[in-house]
Amino acid sequence: MTLQEGAVLADAVTAPKSRRRGRIGRTSWILPSYTTLALVFLLIPIVYTIVFSFNNSIKSNISWRGFTLDKWLNVCSAQNVCQAFGNSLLIGGVATVVATTLGTMIAIALVRYRFRFRAAISLLLFLPMATPEVVLGSGLASEFLGAGVEPGLLTIMIAHIMFCISFVVVTVKARVSSLDPALEEAGRDLYGSPGQVFLRITFPLLLPGIIAAALLSFALSFDDFIITYFNSGSVQTFPTFVYVSAARGIPAEANVIASAVFFIAIVIVITQQLAAAVRRRRLARTA
């Protein structure tokens, strides 16, 4: 049972029912209405971007010229959009795999083992998240410049792996700390080799945390612009494509790709939430 689920159950049992007061009743509509308006406000540019993916635009996609499905059906007709998108997918995939592997290893070590320089290591992991992107980007670019490395796909991947690692560590660490060591002990007591215990007990139990970290890494990599722009040379990712074309008008095809990515992400997250809700209900029934 997670802490949240436990808290919900404990509250239901122990918390005294709050007495209704007239004063609260009269003003209780303010906060819900504010929340609704605030959430609508957050969604405005998203709706705008999606709507304008159906715009029958000719060159720049600023004024509404009528509804069309053309841009969705021929996404790749705009120059370079699909190539930039493909680059972003490739970079995101590689960065996710490498960062998730390196970060998960660090997370396990941080929770499970004692070693010296712990404080220094925590600081090294925290700093990349607290450094402005423009500093990370220009720093890496000046390192590559000094070493004579040409900017391109490889330098973008190196940069993305770097800023994803810390986020993976934070996410997976929470999962490792919640793992009951007794389960692994049981595996060892039953004569499981260290490899077997890891593959059949530890890894499956950590998997939800690792998947969350991987999704987060991919999202961070896919939408990164500032660090990428300093280290991309002539290679375009989806965000740098948007930035460069902003001067002469962003084609509606870019909106199509962004909208499609949005829908996929939202479906993944909502499915996850609904599954959690089903689990919660089942838990409440058995409790």
């Binding site: 957050l42 540019p45 770097m162 948007v242």
Partner: protein, 301 residues
């Protein structure tokens, strides 16, 4: 951290073992990577910031100890001050916007966990659509020809020759909008753990709702406020997309990020860009340390 909002598992008692070889094997690859591509670049920035123009090849720089490069601090003091002013404003606005929102999701919506989670999904939904396209969407909606602006002009709420895009207002607005989720998530994470019985105790002791809010709710949600402020302020101070002329900014809104970008990528004046990056990093470090000391939080991660 922001993403701790989703980490709700209980920590199990772990007895860390003395590491030895396995710990080393697990730690070394990742830490080596961060050393090579996070720490070395910072030193490389210091090194580059002290370089002098090469006497032989025009447009090239060579190793030197030209501390005068840091005169960029005076040259661009206007942009540096503006960055911090905009970032502070955006952080304050994001906090005012997010607190009631996070309070409703984290405290009032507790009886309905599914609704709570769906509202959280809506808060992070902007993360799923390109940051640049969102900003461009605001630019189009706030442009002079947009129905919103022509409407405001028609009812004389805006002077006929006034603009919204290209003004400091638009840049601060864009920064606020883009960093709201970074503020709301940590606030939610700490308000979600708020024990409402403390609030009832406040009202039982005849405290006015506002007094309870000021003396109970705010102090208990302080960790969320601290991490939300840091997560908003740091990227906002270094941002250059919102202030860029192709997005929400204009000629008079350049921030330090814009200056670093143009010096590095356009005029290839690497020492100036590196010196400005170092200045930005140090300024943020000092502000963060002072802020953390004043707000009394030690736990950063």
């Amino acid at each position: 951290m922001a993403f701790a909002a989703f980490a709700t598992e209980t920590a199990k008692e772990q007895t860390p073992r003395r590491g030895g070889k396995i710990a080393l094997l697990l730690l070394v690859p990742g830490l080596l990577y961060l050393g090579l591509f996070f720490l070395v670049p910072l030193f490389s920035l210091v090194f580059t910031s002290l370089q002098a123009p090469s006497g032989v090849n025009f447009g090239q720089f060579e190793a030197a100890f030209k501390i005068e490069n840091y005169a960029v601090f005076g040259q661009y003091s206007e942009q540096i001050l503006r960055s911090f002013l905009y970032a502070v404003l955006a952080t304050v606005f994001a906090l005012l916007f997010s607190y009631p929102l996070a309070y409703f999701i984290g405290v009032k919506a507790r009886p309905w966990p599914l609704l709570q989670n769906l509202m959280l999904v809506l808060v992070i939904a902007p993360f799923f659509i390109s940051f640049l396209l969102r900003t461009i969407a605001w630019k189009s909606m706030l442009s002079d020809e947009s129905p919103f602006v022509t409407g405001l002009k028609a009812i004389s709420l805006l002077a006929p020759d006034a603009h919204i895009t290209g003004t400091p207002f638009a840049v601060v607005f864009g920064l606020t909008y883009n960093f709201i989720p970074f503020m709301t998530l940590p606030l939610y994470a700490s308000l979600e753990r708020l024990d409402t019985r403390y609030l009832e105790a406040g009202s039982d002791l005849y405290a006015k709702p506002f007094t309870t809010f000021r003396t109970v709710t705010i102090p208990l949600s302080m960790p969320g406020i601290v991490s939300g402020v840091l997560l908003t302020f740091i990227p906002a101070a270094g941002d250059y997309v919102n202030a860029s002329r192709e997005f929400l900014g204009g000629t008079g809104t350049a921030m330090i990020g814009n200056v670093i970008e143009s010096n590095f990528l356009l005029s290839n004046n690497y020492p100036a860009a590196a010196a400005l990056s170092i200045i930005l990093m140090l300024a943020i470090l000092v502000i963060v340390l002072v802020y953390v000391r004043v707000s009394g939080t030690k736990d950063l991660l």
